[in-house]
Symmetry: C2
DNA sequence: TTAAATTTATTAAAATATTCACAAATTTAT
DNA sequence: ATAAATTTGTGAATATTTTAATAAATTTAA
């Protein structure tokens, strides 16, 4: 793949989701202008985004939905089969473990860690092994580079430990601030901030 | 507040979080360069972002942490006291209802809706009234404009109904694609996409 | 009290990202 | 078989966002 900008990369999952829905609804061919109405992204932006991967469409015709799905699934690493761990098996952690359509999307959660491992592993919906957080080193799966962080506090200490153990990327659900060690990347999922921004935007529209 | 760009707005919650942590740790004064190391945003970007609100700092000195916290909390609408509803009281919905530090951040969730209202309202951790989804019209709180969507499917139908009932903004946890009615805005929280992007980025770094 | 050292705020420059405009390719209609 | 109508792909133009450079204000030290 050619150089794909951050902005474009953020839109790829949007396209993939929309295309899957379209496919489900029996749509087999689509033009950039139709897709534009569907996902609310300008058609020219869509074409530009697509063209970074290659010549995906046909002039005078449009794009083949199934073909696009295959290409985007591949580009988005659905074949990476990345091994991931989850830290913090509370309500949110369990919700993530039970996300449906999880399999074969980016990879799989191999095991989880918690300070109350014994209690957590008894929960009916917890479908992976749960170890005590102190066993991070011993139980870290080989080649694991991604950790999903769902703990309410004490993030910095855990992040530092994860860094030592070779974790490269963190999906962060924590609301606490922590300093990211050199060489690590993270991606925040901050529900409260998301809501704040939306509230702000809705209120801005009124003025 | 002057014109604040989308990019800047996304950083405000990051600043607020970091400043609160710093305050907790006893830091009362900070320079843009220190904050920069802390949040991993260039100091010049920080100063530019701050200056859009007003002259928040003092040359040769820096910024007063407590003062900044007050200003950002206000800017981010912590005084809006927005009434919100939550739709879909599953594991994720319950996790959101139980988020700590929820109160006085943007507003509060007044009630929830679910297809299995009777079952849901018996759950111990569900701390707001739960109504059947069919009662959306009757039970919609007055002046409510924000809905948090945590249902696994059937999003489009619900979104259309919400639009009719005056909802202006949707915090979307659904993975399904839906078309946003005219005049509505939404903000996606897509865990799987977030992980996909991160996996992709981690793998890009290797090449 | 004055000069040197800081540090913000802001104007200008550079980098990113989006959109326009149209050539090239393809399909549809005649 | 040919012309008209579409629709992609992309170089050029515009818009947005970030970064650099520096003037203005403040503090610190002599």
């Amino acid at each position: 793949m050619t150089q794909v900008s951050k902005a474009t990369l953020k839109r790829y999952p949007v396209y993939l989701k929309a295309l899957r829905k379209l496919s489900q609804d029996g749509v087999s061919k689509i033009m950039s202008s139709e897709l534009s109405d569907y996902v609310d992204i300008k058609s020219t932006t869509i074409r530009r985004d697509f063209s970074l991967i290659g010549q995906l469409g046909k002039q005078g015709y449009g794009y083949d939905v199934e073909e696009l799905i295959k290409i985007f699934a591949k580009e988005l690493g659905e074949n990476y089969d990345e091994k991931m761990i989850l830290i913090g098996v509370g309500r949110l952690g369990t919700a993530i473990l039970n996300y449906n359509n999880w399999n074969h999307v980016a990879g799989e959660i191999v095991c989880a860690f918690d300070i109350q491992a014994e209690k957590r592993k008894k929960e009916p919906k917890v479908n992976v092994p749960v170890y005590h957080i102190d066993q991070l080193k011993e139980k870290m799966p080989k080649g694991c580079e991604i950790a999903i962080l769902c703990i309410p506090s004490g993030a910095q200490e855990i992040v530092n430990k994860l860094h030592e153990l070779g974790i490269k990327g963190i999906v962060n659900f924590t609301r606490e601030h922590f300093v990211l060690p050199e060489g690590m990347i993270k991606s925040d999922v901050d529900v409260v901030s998301t809501i704040q921004e939306l509230v702000f935007e809705v209120n801005s529209l009124k003025k």
